[in-house]
């Protein structure tokens, strides 16, 4: 009898608990006990893991200026796995985060990043999505890596011209293992450019949009480097590139697809997902993608969590 009461009590308590703490959605969703970098690296390296890796394009640019420290912090709070940032070099050889080669669109200044010294860039502030100036400053790569350290993977876009400098910064900040480099060059060219460095970093080949030699490009990387992932974007599902998915998956590499714009993912992009996620993100995943770069990180996380495809 006593046991029965206990069971009943437990059921009642569970029922009330459900009502008191309904699942919270949207920006309020917080990931408690965040997995940490070791888990993220293990997930990245295990192509058989069914969890999808979410990459936030330029950080959480909807709620903070793109490529700002706050945009990275917001991603960490959301539980995003990887943040994509853009690296450029100032006149005095400091690596900063900036997408465009000019600073006109995203800052209060004008002209090329490469014509500005780091000190003078610090007098500027970043603009928000309506172009209005904010109080956020242009971050250095070093500051960004210190924010990311131990919490989130970082994809360094546009870093190809400054590999040595970027690598040194990663070493200095103790973040080499959580950075992902990428590029479109063939294996031979990459090996020549990076040298031994290639074996100390994570490098992800991007399969070019138009390429008659795409198969050769992929198989060369597979036989010589065993990449953890390939970035593959395709404008149509009938595209020859689409066929390469099978080769990539057979090699136990992860498949990264951008859902930013329709032409990168056969029209199954983020804005379509806002209306019908199954017909966009759902199809990309069933077509093999297990890394998605998105401009809607919060919505994608909500969707994946509902499907049991994210922590």
């Amino acid at each position: 009898m006593f046991a029965k009461i206990l069971i009943l009590l437990a059921v009642c308590i569970m029922l009330t608990a459900c009502n008191i703490n309904p699942p919270v959605k949207g920006e309020e969703q917080l990931t408690k006990n965040k997995p940490g970098i070791e888990y993220l690296l293990e997930k990245l390296g295990d192509a058989k893991n069914d969890k999808v890796i979410v990459i936030a394009h330029r950080g959480d640019w909807r709620n903070a200026p793109e490529n700002s420290l706050q945009a990275i912090k917001n991603c960490i709070d959301m539980g995003v796995d990887m943040v994509e940032i853009d690296v450029r070099m100032t006149k005095d050889s400091i690596l900063v985060l900036m997408h465009d080669d000019t600073i006109d669109r995203t800052t209060t200044g004008k002209g090329k990043v490469s014509d500005w010294s780091y000190d003078s860039l610090q007098n500027l502030t970043l603009r928000n999505g309506t172009l209005h100036p904010t109080e956020h400053k242009i971050p250095t790569l070093k500051e960004a890596m210190n924010v990311a350290k131990g919490s989130i993977l970082v994809n360094l876009d546009k870093s190809e011209d400054h590999i040595k400098e970027a690598y040194n910064l990663l070493k200095e900040t103790g973040t080499v293992k959580q950075a992902i480099f990428k590029g479109k060059k063939s294996y031979g060219e990459v090996r020549e450019k990076y040298g031994n460095l290639l074996d100390s970093i994570i490098y992800m080949p991007i399969v070019k949009y138009q390429s008659g030699v795409a198969m050769e490009y992929v198989t060369q990387f597979i036989t010589s480097y065993q990449p953890v992932a390939f970035e593959l974007n395709y404008d149509k599902e009938s595209s020859n590139l689409f066929q390469l998915i099978f080769t990539i998956k057979a090699n136990n590499s992860r498949l990264w697809t951008n859902s930013l714009w329709p032409e990168q993912c056969a029209g199954r992009h983020d804005d379509r997902a806002v209306i019908n996620p199954d017909s966009a993100w759902g199809v990309l995943i069933s077509n093999g993608a297990n890394m998605l770069q998105t401009d809607r990180p919060q919505l994608l996380l909500n969707y994946l969590r509902e499907k049991g495809l994210h922590e």
Binding site: M1, K4, I5, L8, L9, C12, I13, L15, T16, N19, I20, P22, G26, E27, E28, H57, R58, W61, R62, N63, E66, R105, N128, G129, T130, L131, H132, T134, E135, L260, W261, P262, D271, D295
Partner: protein, 318 residues
């Protein structure tokens, strides 16, 4: 013993139901129609604060797009501020800048483009990337909002008041649209005549250093404010003050005593003595809360979702 089980069960089940009921009540919006919203603005009560989304929900849809307004309806925002501009062939569209570059795939001045060419363009998102959304005409926008529980504040429409009014009449949305402007009542009357009595009008009160005070020989913000109560019924007042001891706050007190709605912009520091959205999201009580205690009935924000969440927590947005 069985009784005990029964009692426990009843207690728990009834608690569950109570909680459910509270939640349903919370979800019911205070205003079901735009007319109810206008009625509240005419006689604002202290138990509620209205929210205005600047250019719509521009974080999640292109600014000044239909989707940006539609998102606001879903969020529970009461007013969306949009910007009205005129094309080469005198059509009215919704866009902020004079030029197309920043928010669309076009280039050059809106005034140099005919409407049919503008409608082939796409809007850009907050990161400058092309989307599938189009530039809305004012008429499309008004048809979209008609009878939905949302009001529009038509910024820059003072440049094209008669043309705008025609569209509102045609679409049956005159009572859903708030006009505003920067000039004293006699000037507005001189320019627009009886239109002024057919529209919902909200004067903007600028800091004492603003050019209108010299230009129109009006000495102070309070005088400018009082001037709107002579044979006229302003819907509300949009007040802008750059510092805590601004003379504009005298006008705020006057309006509060009169029971006229006060609209404060929290977009940028210079509009609200530094109590803007970006500091408010870190410490809402010290900024949004402070402005409400200073007499704000309506807050215009770039953070509608977070502001509504804050107001709900304070039981000011039930």
């Amino acid at each position: 013993m069985k009784k005990l089980i029964l009692i426990f069960s009843i207690i728990f089940i009834s608690t569950c139901q109570n909680i459910k009921q509270v939640k349903i009540e919370e979800k019911a919006a205070r205003f079901q129609t735009p007319l109810e919203m206008i009625e509240w603005i005419k006689a604002p009560t202290k138990d509620y604060v209205m929210t205005v989304a600047h250019r719509g929900d521009w974080r999640n849809a292109p600014e000044n797009s239909i989707k940006a307004v539609s998102n606001c309806v879903d969020l529970g925002v009461e007013i969306v501020e949009i910007d009205v501009r005129m094309t080469k062939d005198s059509a009215l569209i919704v866009m902020h800048d004079l030029t197309l570059e920043r928010t669309s795939t076009g280039k050059g001045k809106i005034a140099d483009w005919p409407l049919d060419s503008l409608l082939t363009l796409k809007l850009k998102n907050g990161a400058g990337m092309k989307t599938g959304h189009k530039i809305p005409t004012l008429k499309e926008m008004m048809i979209f909002v008609k009878d939905k529980p949302i009001l529009l504040n038509l910024d820059k429409a003072w440049n094209y008041l008669p043309q705008t009014y025609e569209i509102l009449k045609e679409t049956g949305t005159v009572q859903q649209s708030i006009f505003k402007g920067n000039e004293p009542l006699p000037k507005m009357r001189e320019k627009w005549g009886s239109y002024m009595d057919s529209i919902l009008y909200m004067p903007m009160v600028w800091p004492e250093t603003y050019s209108i005070y010299n230009r129109d020989s009006i000495i102070t913000p309070i005088e400018y404010t009082k001037g709107f109560f002579e044979n006229f019924h302003p819907l509300a007042f949009e007040v802008i003050f750059d510092k805590e001891d601004s003379p504009v706050l005298e006008a705020v007190n006057y309006l509060n005593r009169k029971g006229t709605a006060v609209w404060i912009n929290t977009l940028w520091p210079e509009l609200c003595a530094g109590h803007h959205d970006e500091v408010a999201i870190e410490n809402p009580d010290a900024h949004w809360g402070l402005l409400i205690s200073k007499g704000a009935n309506i807050l215009q924000t770039d953070r509608p979702q977070l502001l509504i969440k804050y107001l709900k927590g304070k039981k000011l947005h039930q």
